[in-house]
């Protein structure tokens, strides 16, 4: 593809090697902050603040991970309850568990609702379908703050404030436009003849959906679920505004690693690294559907 770019590069004496070098340089620039963050998590304080920065030749220490995951609690029993100078407890397992519960719960809820709706939108057109889709898309436009302020009062009144269920519902809502539109595009890929043939043979609509179409769309369902999981996992402002003390997910708690003697960068980076590595693995697994997911199903790879 794009012969002309190759031509131009070749024509001016720039060759494939140049393209490779430039491509890798760009990849390196975009990867550098991630690499830097990982090194912060395994550096000692004196190396974190060194200038010129120590990118490769630093002392490796996993004490930040031990504190964040509570390993030091088991290894050094006498340290139990001890806090670092400046105060602050960096034991983050409960927050990791909160994050996982919320991401799994909201993904499940969003998928359940969206698969039903997307199948229907794909197979049984309704009057004003375009407007209905436009409405779903408009939900995607709402600034989180504009939803979170009224939800704060509603949640206070109905007791969902500071609960896992409350955050699960709001994250599911946040992911619904993505999930519905994306699942519709996956269902649209499956020929409608399958449904019609089965219906003519006397199968019920639900049977067709559950036993024929869902198994065929399983790859798309997995990709959609992964994206929902990641967007819930990384979400910040809803959790910030709709929780108080009961639970905090990783993105929110990792911005609060500030003690009276400064910011605990190594612990923060350890938690941040632990939070992004699973997301990296997930996203590489569904890379094939990534562009379709990012564009809510409208651009296919």
């Amino acid at each position: 593809m794009h012969l002309f770019i190759l031509q131009r590069l070749n024509g001016k004496g720039l060759n494939k090697v140049f393209k490779q070098v430039l491509g890798w340089l760009i990849a390196a620039i975009f990867f550098f902050p991630i690499y830097f963050w990982i090194t912060v998590s395994i550096k000692k304080d004196k190396d974190i603040f060194a200038l010129p920065p120590k990118l490769f030749d630093f002392e490796v220490s996993f004490s930040a991970y031990e504190e964040v995951f509570g390993i030091s609690r088991f290894l050094y029993v006498e340290d139990m309850g001890a806090v670092r100078p400046g105060g602050g407890d960096f034991y983050m397992m409960p927050n990791l568990v909160d994050s996982i519960i919320i991401a799994l719960g909201s993904t499940g809820l969003a998928m359940l609702i969206s698969i039903l709706a997307a199948y229907s939108l794909s197979r049984i057109p309704i009057r004003g379908q375009q407007h209905f889709m436009g409405w779903i898309l408009s939900t995607r436009m709402m600034p989180p703050v504009a939803v979170a302020i009224p939800m704060f009062f509603i949640y206070k009144n109905i007791g969902l404030m500071d609960t896992h269920l409350g955050i699960i519902i709001i994250h599911a809502l946040m992911n619904l436009p993505l999930a519905v539109l994306l699942m519709k595009s996956f269902f649209d890929d499956i020929p409608k003849d399958i449904d019609e043939a089965a219906l003519l043979d006397g199968a019920t609509r639900f049977f067709v959906f559950w036993r024929l179409i869902v198994p065929l769309a399983i790859g798309g369902i997995a990709a959609t679920a992964v994206l929902c999981f990641i967007f819930s996992w990384t979400e910040f402002i809803f959790v910030l505004m709709l929780t108080q003390t009961g639970l905090k997910t990783i993105p929110v708690v990792s911005t609060s690693f500030v003690t009276s003697t400064g910011t605990a960068w190594d612990n923060m980076a350890a938690l941040g690294t632990a939070a992004i590595i699973p997301a990296f693995i997930f996203i590489l697994l569904v890379q094939r559907h990534l562009v379709r997911g990012l564009t809510l199903g409208s651009v296919k790879q």
């Binding site: 002309f4 600034p143 504009a146 990783i250 409208s298 651009v299």
Partner: protein
């Protein structure tokens, strides 16, 4: 089609009516999207009065305050500047990188994979990554800029009124340029090759081909990418929250951050008014864009 009708069963999930299938979605959207919207309107005509410890009706006061509040106009300007500049930079940069790495040569698949990684980092954590890299005392970026003489030895980024917003924008550009790249690469790969081959045979120059062929053929893909990225840029709050909290002074308040900040100051009605304004703007602009750019789902 008429013969098919007799096979549709009257029971709940088996009917050919779409209502049961859509009901959970519609319920969810009404309860958690429509009700908050009207609640926001309700809040924008009320305000918490500390002396009476109650939310009281204040008429148009919040809206009058909105249009006479210098900080609000400042935050609107920041939001617009942030959205347009980031969108422009990400689109141009993204297109350049996409043209470069749209190749089947070995290695480019890995490069594309590396570029997907920034997309799944929680924005709050991306903010933290740049917070340490832009730190005034031991940050990598100010140190680099100072050693090549771009900023003075005493200058800082995040506490400088003119540079702070760029200090925030650089995070957005870093994290989301790959979003543009991946979408544009997918668009480039789906183009048919015949028009390009004949253009090259006709001796068209690369830039002409790009402007006359590539851009028009990518129109839909670009429109979708701009729409989705534009919405998210307008809603952005994580980066400013983490990096500057709106400072120095009010230099990096976006609409969302200002609204959140008023809310935490127990000016609930005013906070809701600002967020409602931001919501109405994006609904109008977004839907107008969908209409005029002919984006279809």
């Amino acid at each position: 089609m008429s013969s098919q009708k007799s096979y549709s069963l009257p029971s709940f999930m088996n009917s050919d009516s779409s209502l049961p299938w859509l009901l959970p979605l519609i319920t969810m959207l009404i309860v958690f999207a429509i009700i908050p919207f009207f609640y926001n309107i309700y809040l924008s005509f009320h305000e918490f009065v500390p002396a009476k410890r109650a939310l009281l009706f204040v008429g148009w006061d919040n809206w009058i305050r909105l249009f006479t509040d210098g900080v609000f106009w400042g935050s609107l300007k920041v939001s617009l500047y942030y959205t347009f500049m980031c969108l422009l930079i990400q689109l141009v940069l993204g297109m350049g990188i996409a043209l470069l790495i749209d190749s089947d040569d070995p290695g480019f698949g890995i490069i594309r994979s590396i570029l997907t990684l920034t997309l799944v980092i929680p924005p709050a954590i991306a903010g933290m990554i740049f917070l340490i890299m832009e730190d005034a005392n031991y940050g990598l970026i100010p140190w680099l800029l100072k050693s090549i003489g771009l900023i003075g030895p005493e200058d800082t980024i995040l506490s400088d009124p003119t540079l702070a917003l760029w200090g925030v924008m650089i995070v957005d550009i870093w994290q989301w340029t790959p979003f543009m790249v991946l979408i544009l690469v997918a668009g480039l790969r789906s183009l048919p090759s015949e028009p390009f081959e004949s253009a090259v045979i006709d001796g068209a120059r690369p830039f002409q081909v790009f402007r006359r062929l590539t851009l028009p053929m990518l129109h839909k893909v670009i429109a979708v990418a701009v729409l989705i990225r534009g919405i998210d840029l307008w809603r952005m709050v994580d980066y400013v929250f983490v990096l500057t909290s709106g400072g120095p002074g009010t230099a990096t308040y976006t609409l969302s951050l200002y609204s959140w900040q008023r809310f935490t100051f127990v000016q609930w009605g005013y906070g809701a008014t600002i967020s409602l304004f931001s919501l109405i703007v994006i609904l109008i602009v977004g839907n107008a864009f969908i209409h005029f750019a002919k984006v279809k789902w």
